[in-house]
């Protein structure tokens, strides 16, 4: 088991944020298109 990181994680963290924003945008579209 290695306890030291061997890669740069910044891009992965950025991807998590982008995916969450996209998921929230989809939910926002669903609410504004069909919701009350």
């Amino acid at each position: 088991m290695s306890s030291d990181s061997t890669r740069n994680w910044s891009r992965t963290y950025a991807a998590v944020i982008v995916v969450e924003v996209l998921a929230l945008m989809c939910l926002w579209w669903l609410q504004s298109h069909y919701g009350t």
Binding site: M1, S2, S3, D4, S5, T6, R7, W9, T12, Y13, V16, I17, V19, E20, A23, L24, L27, W28, L30, Q31, H33, Y34, G35, T36
Partner: protein, 569 residues
Amino acid sequence: MHLLDWVVVGAYIAWLIWDGVKRTKLDRTTESYFLANRSMPWWAVGLSVMATQLSAITLVGTTGQGYNDGLRFVQFYYGLPIAMIILCVTLVPFFYRARVYTAYEYLERRFDLKTRTFTSGLFLVSRAMSCGAIAAAPAVVLSVVLGWSVTLTTLLILVPAVVYTMLGGVQAVTWTDVKTMGLTVFALIIAMIFLVMGLPSGVGVDDALTIAGGTGRLNAFDFDFTLTETYTFWSGMLGGLFLMLSYFGCDQSQVQRYLTAKSVDDGRTSLLMSAFWKIPLQVLVLIVGVFTFLFYLFNQPPLLFNPVHEERVRVSAVAPAYEELQREFQSVFTARRQAAVDIAAARHAGDVREQARATDDFTRQDAALRSIRTRAVGLVRQTTDDSSYNDVNYVFPTWITTALPIGIVGLWIAAIITAATDSIAAELNSLSTASVIDFYKRLINPSAPDGHYLLVSRVATAGWGIFAGVVAVYASSLGPLIEVVNRFGSFFYGSILGVFMLAILTRRATGTGAFVGLLAGMTSVASVAIWRPDISFLWHNVIGAVVVFTVGLSLSLFDRSSRVQETPS
């Protein structure tokens, strides 16, 4: 249920047990039993993290929430991806470098023995009780749906978990989680297909979403900043963030999952799997609930979904009132269905005025139907003394057993049973780890051979399983006690997070400061819960963490007796 369904359920559970028992020979040391020799692939660990959190309560209760309230519950998870990133940057590398078995072991290295023992003890008490509650909730629902006794359904859930966890250790738990996640997602997709196919002719998916949206069931954002409402954007983003940080970062049942990964990078990747997939998965579960609402919009549902309670009401003194409600229910149901069909027809004809009229009518009838159901549930509570009775927990299991074809019913019952089983297995595994590593080995018998600890670990797993079984079987009669225990858990969840924040965010924090801070945090949360019970429990996590950090750091600045032995690097 048909014989074929029972074959599916029996075969799946037998496979889980056989596969778990097969792994017994792999566990020759405590490190392999508890941490799989830190050799698990990231994707298996990631699925295990998700499966541990996805219990049968999620499948039964959350679909019920989707049926009743729509998507608003998803706001609870908005803070999760951010929490995962914070954990990957902070706690995960600390745990890996320290090569610990339990999260609390790290606290002794950073602070002192009393802080470790106290936090681990809190974990044992709350998780042991919640383990019983996790088994009890689906056991009660399954007992009603299958017509079995609660003791039998509890055993059906608990026995496989105890057997494969005791024998196969964390490897059996992880690989069972992988299978269960696959089965659950497959079963959800199949359910969604059948629900869409179940829409009547003339009503498409777009019409169905318009109708559901008209009742507010597609609302996934509530931007009101109020401390008393549990599911809002802000409570999810802030309260949910602190809860997820505590659950995934300081709770042994989750920490142990990613400590089995091959490297710190694999540990991080496994956690980020939840960051990517948790919200979409939760939306899928809730959408299945929304479409179950649509199914029962066009197909006659019972007034009460729990047939046992309905029968008791029918033969009680309130039977005439219930009969009256049923007549009212029938007439409002027919009117609401007609209004829904009118909405679809008006949309297809492009008649905006007629669509608005039908939508108004539908909304009115839907509110009337909801009021009738609330009154019916009130009659149940009055008749059975079950003050916390919630009929929506029976909606989805009723749909499964009455609307799905033979074979698929068995698949779904297997999914519900094993969702409960594998959450319990993960908890038993972590309870055994904390009790052996933090108490038995640390305080009682520190110098025994490893084989002895392995034996004690298996016995501890079985012991915690029996304890969970007793709690589960008596959970219904322990009602208020279980509530007290759950509330007790919420008192210290955020507070434990505060201790870990002191451990890694500052070099100045001392053991005594952290310990007193922890007591102050728990007292603050308990005070808020007692004096302001209207404040949502999600905010308790924020209060607990902030008080512990502030008090702990302030005291540490004056506490020169026990300066830090190990500083964060």
